[in-house]
């Protein structure tokens, strides 16, 4: 199947179509909404399902082979966050706060995108390594720790240059030396708090917990809950994506505010990151599907977990920028176009000799 046909086939799936329905509903100002309790429950459900599935797979295949891909993923996600920042600040002329916030949004992993990736592969009848769910869980706090680190640096730098006090002051009182010290102290405490909060965040807890439980109970223990945590998985995504479509649709107007540069960033960077991921995964001998999911870790941007952390760590950054580009541009682009493209590339790479990989690398990036 050629790439156009694959994209077309991908569009005509319930997951993508209900997402588009949500966008349409929002654009024509329909009052369609998924009730809050349901759309808060669904991410928990999806992460539990992903975790259980990952744990079950790891029980079958072991997880010794996971170490290298995991370490590489951590390194990659740090590197990428740093290069995102350079692009955004240097080329895009975003201020440091917005640049750091956007950099870590795209350095983090989108759990919803990951779910859609799994359902995409499932509908193609392709398997992937279960331990990638565990890598997902590891990368979550990594991206946040990085965001915390970067802000910390930015704040100290700013404070040293004294150009713009960290604690902005509407009341026009000058910042005294003592207040400065207190502010510095507070910022450290705040960062520790955020660090702790991000590790105990519900996404990580339910994901790691479910991986562990899946590993421990095995297929036999999983059987009585399989109907809900496996068979209903894609329908769960469908319902959730109606709501994501609605929110994305509501935010489409904000995209213009971000400007052409941000739109370009939100399309190009995930493509590059994703393909790098696929390439490396193939080199690390992951399966065709595993390479797609590995690439997705880097392609995806976080639009649920990241904003909650960033609002605390970098309150000066505009949330409309990072939520809108991640949910309004990158997410639809990935689930409609990039996923099939990555699958295509992964399949092609897996059909070649490992020896030729470096040559392909050049080819893909052009």
């Amino acid at each position: 199947m050629d790439i156009v046909a694959l994209i077309q086939a991908n569009i005509l799936t319930p997951v993508v179509l209900f997402f588009i329905l949500g966008i349409v509903a929002a654009r024509i100002k329909s009052d369609l909404r998924i009730p809050e309790a349901i759309s808060e429950f669904l991410p928990i459900y999806l992460l539990a399902a992903i975790g259980l599935h990952g744990g079950l797979e790891m029980r079958k295949t072991g997880f010794e082979s996971m170490l290298v891909p995991l370490l590489v993923a951590v390194a990659l996600s740090i590197l990428m966050t740093l290069y995102h920042y350079q692009i955004l600040h240097r080329l895009g002329k975003f201020n440091i706060f917005d640049s750091y916030a956007l950099a870590s949004t795209y350095g983090a992993v989108g759990a919803v995108t990951f779910s859609v990736g799994l359902s995409f592969l499932k509908s193609q009848g392709i398997e992937s390594e279960g331990y990638i769910a565990a890598i997902l869980a590891t990368l979550e706090p990594i991206a946040f720790i990085l965001a915390i680190f970067l802000t910390n640096m930015a704040v100290s730098k700013q404070m040293r240059t004294k150009k713009e006090p960290f604690v902005k002051n509407d009341l026009d009182k000058p910042v005294s030396g003592e207040e400065f010290g207190i502010a510095l102290e507070q910022s450290k405490t705040k960062l520790l708090t955020v660090l702790r909060e991000s590790i105990t965040g519900k996404a990580i807890i339910i994901l790691l917990g479910s991986i562990f439980i899946g590993y421990v109970i095995g297929e036999h223990g999983f059987a009585p809950i399989k109907i809900v945590f496996e068979d209903m998985f894609i329908a769960g995504i469908v319902i959730f994506l109606i709501e994501m479509g609605i929110i994305a649709g509501q935010r489409l107007d904000d995209i213009k505010k971000g400007g052409a540069f941000l739109i370009g960033f939100a399309l190009a960077v995930p493509t590059i990151n994703g393909l790098i991921g696929v390439l490396i995964a193939t080199y690390l001998e992951l399966s065709v599907g595993g390479a797609v999911m590995y690439g997705l870790l880097f392609a995806s941007a976080s639009f649920i977990a990241a904003p909650a952390v960033l609002r605390h760590t970098i309150p000066q950054a505009k949330p409309s920028l990072y939520i809108t580009s991640a949910l309004g541009i990158t997410f639809p682009y990935i689930i409609i176009i990039l996923l099939p493209v990555m699958l295509m590339v992964s399949t092609a790479l897996h059909n070649m000799d490992a020896i030729n990989l470096m040559g392909i690398f050049d080819q893909v990036l052009q």
Partner: protein, 101 residues
């Protein structure tokens, strides 16, 4: 039955600033507070129609006159510039003034 004068401090802010506000209240040892989720519109635009974190929260504290000023001042200084937030103060009467120190 005698009623006593206290102040009711109301803060309406984005939900992600709730912790910051409660931390400040804790610092001043308020004896209690009441909070609930709300929607709203203001200078930072309509809030409450997307993700749960896009909602607002309204926090109400009964307390003595003297504390009100300090707390309002600290909230204004540390949170007004970065968050969607408003605050206002109302005169109210209570039965047990010692409860709202």
């Amino acid at each position: 039955m005698k009623l006593f004068d206290v102040k009711l401090l109301t803060i309406t802010c984005e939900i992600l600033a709730q912790k910051n506000v409660l931390d400040i209240l804790g610092k001043y040892n308020v004896s209690g507070y009441t909070l609930y989720e709300v929607e709203g519109d203001g200078s930072k635009g309509i809030r409450g129609q997307g993700f749960k974190n896009d909602k607002n929260v309204k926090i109400e504290v009964l307390l003595h006159q003297d504390k009100v000023e300090q707390i309002a001042e600290e909230i204004a200084r540390t949170l007004f510039s970065d968050y969607a937030i408003i605050l206002y103060v109302t005169d109210v009467n209570v039965l047990r003034p010692e409860k709202f120190s």
